[in-house]
Amino acid sequence: MRRFLNSLGLFFVGALGTENATDKLLKKARYLDFDLLTLILSDEIGIPNPLYYHTVELLPYLSGELEAWRESEKASILWRVLSETGEP
């Protein structure tokens, strides 16, 4: 499990490139886009979005990140659960 998580972490670092100032800024921007996606697609993590019909209008402009967002959501949920249960 830990190896899996580490490789997932490496995947993200890899995807975002080595960290120089510009990369850091872009990474921050990207995480904010993820946050927006989390609000719109909150249903996928179990919290209904009563305004989905309205917010879906934003999806075309954010969903280039959809797959990456899904991975990152899964990863962050997994991290949280593992921090509670400990690792197998």
Partner: protein
């Protein structure tokens, strides 16, 4: 309690449970207002097209004159939803790579059946109609108000506006980082969509709470129907929207105020009212209260 003076209001919403007489009474109200010389628009948000049946006239998606000073039209909500989501899909097709587009389209299509979709489509229509036709008409009567839940969402816009504001801030911050990183940042569609929604929520919050807007609740006689009516009233008022009128429909005898609200009494008609002239006994009740 002072009797109502209907001329003081510009926008009318009639609420009430299924079959209590919302369509019948909104039509009679619109007719009464138009007879007094107010240029009136009657709008049905009801998917069952009951208005064209009641008026015995075909109605379309644009206002059509049905009597002197009275125009009416029916909103096809399902079509509105389809058109809106189709546009979202077309926007997606312009941007998203072919490899991803199907997944994104599926995600967009979920919106048809998402909780609250029909309700939000309803308030979108109310917003558009009041914006587009508010200037051309003295009075607008909506047959069937948005539900208590929607009224609550829209009538307490502070929460909603704060929420949209934080989304706007998040997006602005992200664009700022991109700019600092040397990317060219152009007109951002996400921001312009969020700002448009913000304006819609602000407008509706104001509209629902305005002292020129009348929310009325239609009730029928009998202990249970009255209980249900009272619940509808409470739902709306708990949302911060005052109910200004009770419309007691199909009452053989006049009574006093119901639920401590100004109350108009409408008699049961001999036969099912169809066509404008058959509504006359109901129209005349409204006419007395136009003032």
């Amino acid at each position: 309690m002072k009797p109502v003076s209907l001329r003081n209001y510009r926008i009318f919403f009639l609420s009430g449970k299924g079959g209590v007489g919302k369509s019948t009474l909104s039509t009679a109200l619109a007719l009464a207002l138009s007879k007094r010389g107010f240029k009136t628009l009657l709008v049905s948000l009801d998917p069952a097209h009951s208005l064209s049946i009641l008026l015995k006239k075909g109605l379309g998606g644009a206002p059509r004159e049905v009597a002197p000073s009275l125009s009416a039209f029916e909103v096809d909500l399902e079509r509105e939803m389809r058109d809106y989501l189709k546009k979202v899909e077309r926007d997606a097709e312009k941007i998203i790579s072919p490899a991803l587009i199907e997944k994104v389209k599926n995600q967009i299509e979920l919106a048809y059946n998402s909780p609250g979709a029909l309700e939000l489509a309803t308030v979108d229509s109310v917003y558009r109609i009041v914006k587009n036709y508010g200037r051309g008409f003295d009075k607008i009567v909506f047959d069937t108000a948005p539900s208590g839940y929607t009224v609550r969402l829209m009538a307490s816009p502070d929460k909603l506006l704060n929420w949209v504001d934080s989304l706007i801030e998040m997006r602005e911050e992200a664009l700022n980082y991109r700019k600092m990183a040397g990317e060219e940042v152009k007109e951002d569609p996400v921001l312009s969509i969020l700002r448009k929604r913000r304006e819609e929520y602000r407008f509706l919050g104001e509209l629902f709470r305005s002292d020129k807007t009348l929310f009325g609740v239609v009730v029928n006689p009998g202990e249970l129907p009255l209980k249900i009516g009272e619940r509808t009233l409470k739902e709306i008022e708990e949302a911060g929207v005052p109910v200004r009128l009770i419309l007691a429909n199909k009452f053989r005898e006049k009574g006093g105020e119901l639920f401590k609200k100004p109350t108009l009494y409408f008699p049961p008609l001999e036969k099912e009212p169809l066509g404008l002239t058959s509504l006359e006994p109901l129209v005349s009740v409204f006419e007395k209260y136009i003032g």
